[in-house]
Amino acid sequence: MDLNLRHISHRYDDVEVLRDINLDIRRGQIVCIIGPSGCGKSTLLRMIGGLERPTAGEVLQLGVPPADCLNPLTYIFQDFALLPWRTVEGNVSLVLEDHPMDAAARQEIIQDVLARTKLSDFRKAYPRQLSGGMKQRVAIARALAVRPAVLLMDEPLSALDSQTRELLMDDLVDLWEKENYTAAYVTHNLAEAVRLGHKIVVLSRRPGEIRDIVEIDMPLSARTTENTELEAIQKRLWQLMRDEARAADMELVDE
């Protein structure tokens, strides 16, 4: 299943947030979306997942999701969005309970995804007992449980400390190697973008417009830390964004 964003524009009351975004997200591809603070990345991602309606334009689904897919467009959030009153297991179970399946089948799925994210030992733990990295792993397990066609990730690593981030990025790469998932991945972090993205979309300051789309053909497994080609791309992206990032940072927030 591919996604196709056509002429998406959006405004909140008198603030124009996005302007004429056209974008393709193709099966098996990770599309990274980068841009300065407040340029509308999260808003765009909400629209892709159907959580918000754009003022103009539309998001089209091309083709049908696989038959066993319970929730084609599935999010992973920056703040994990775990229910603090449910255990690890309960949090995964939550997203299956509204689908018709018997308890055994549900248990099986839960076991499976917890095993894949190496969380089996933590089934009974509450979120407050977990470190940030573990919490995000639970959120990933939860997302995998509904067998998504497309993963929508909104800065999934930016609430983590940089060592954990490093570890989780490896996990995401491993997972992609195995499952070839499709994803839209919003981030601030250029290193992440060049490490994970098959396609990197650079947005301008608000109102967010597409400034550039960079495609990286190198397979993910080949992108180790010392890689001058990637370094060069990252540097180019940073030059593209530096001034805008600075300007966005200096903006006064006024509600």
Partner: protein
Amino acid sequence: MSDKTAEKNHEGKPVPFRGGGFLPRPKKIVAPVVFIALIAFWEFGSRSGFISPLVLPAPSEAFDAFLNLVNTGLLWQHLAASLQRLLIGWFSGTLLGIIVGTLIGLFSLARSGLSPLVSAIFPIPKIALLPLFIIWFGIGEGSKVATILFGTFFPTVIATYGGIDNVDRGLIRMGQSFGLTRMSIIRKIILPGALPAILSGARISAAIAIILLVAAEMIAAEYGIGAYILLAGSLMATDQLITGVALLSILGLIFAWIIGRAEKYFLKWR
């Protein structure tokens, strides 16, 4: 510079919308409509005899009673008497409450000694103590003000020390790390940090003060909305009773509004 491929497909169906909701927004128009409908229904019920006058007087009768109050000039006397008690009692109760609450919030000894006392005395109903209050504070303004003061003191204490407990420890540590004096830390970090909690305590204690007005004016009060209500109650003059109750309710709304303004002003940094 848009993605070339985006243009070439035309089949495909839009992603289904599943957001929105769960953010009820009050529609401004509904509240007055509900009020008016309710009163109209009540008036109609009373006139048609469907609501017996014993059970509830018609709103128009209550309004007559109100006009009567206005015309005789008694309204201002009642209001003046009650407001004076409310303001003095509420103000001094709040002030004392903030002081004691701050002590409990800052000092281990005060916390250990006073906070169980506060929890033990807080749930005592003030009307139960009225006979003692008369002996302690006399039948003048003293006992009336004392009733309101007592009622507002305890919630303020609790709000204040709760607020102080919740002041970000990181800010206090910052103050210490810059070598600020203890007094500076209290004045410039702890108290402003506790202010939001103190103000929301003030909101509660203002409501309590109004509720206690009736109890306070059980004691030998000639004038005052509470006294008016009590007299109406003892004469079973339900029209006056409803008028008095409505006056209290309006007073409550006005107080809440004033505290809301104060919050806006003092907490504009939020």
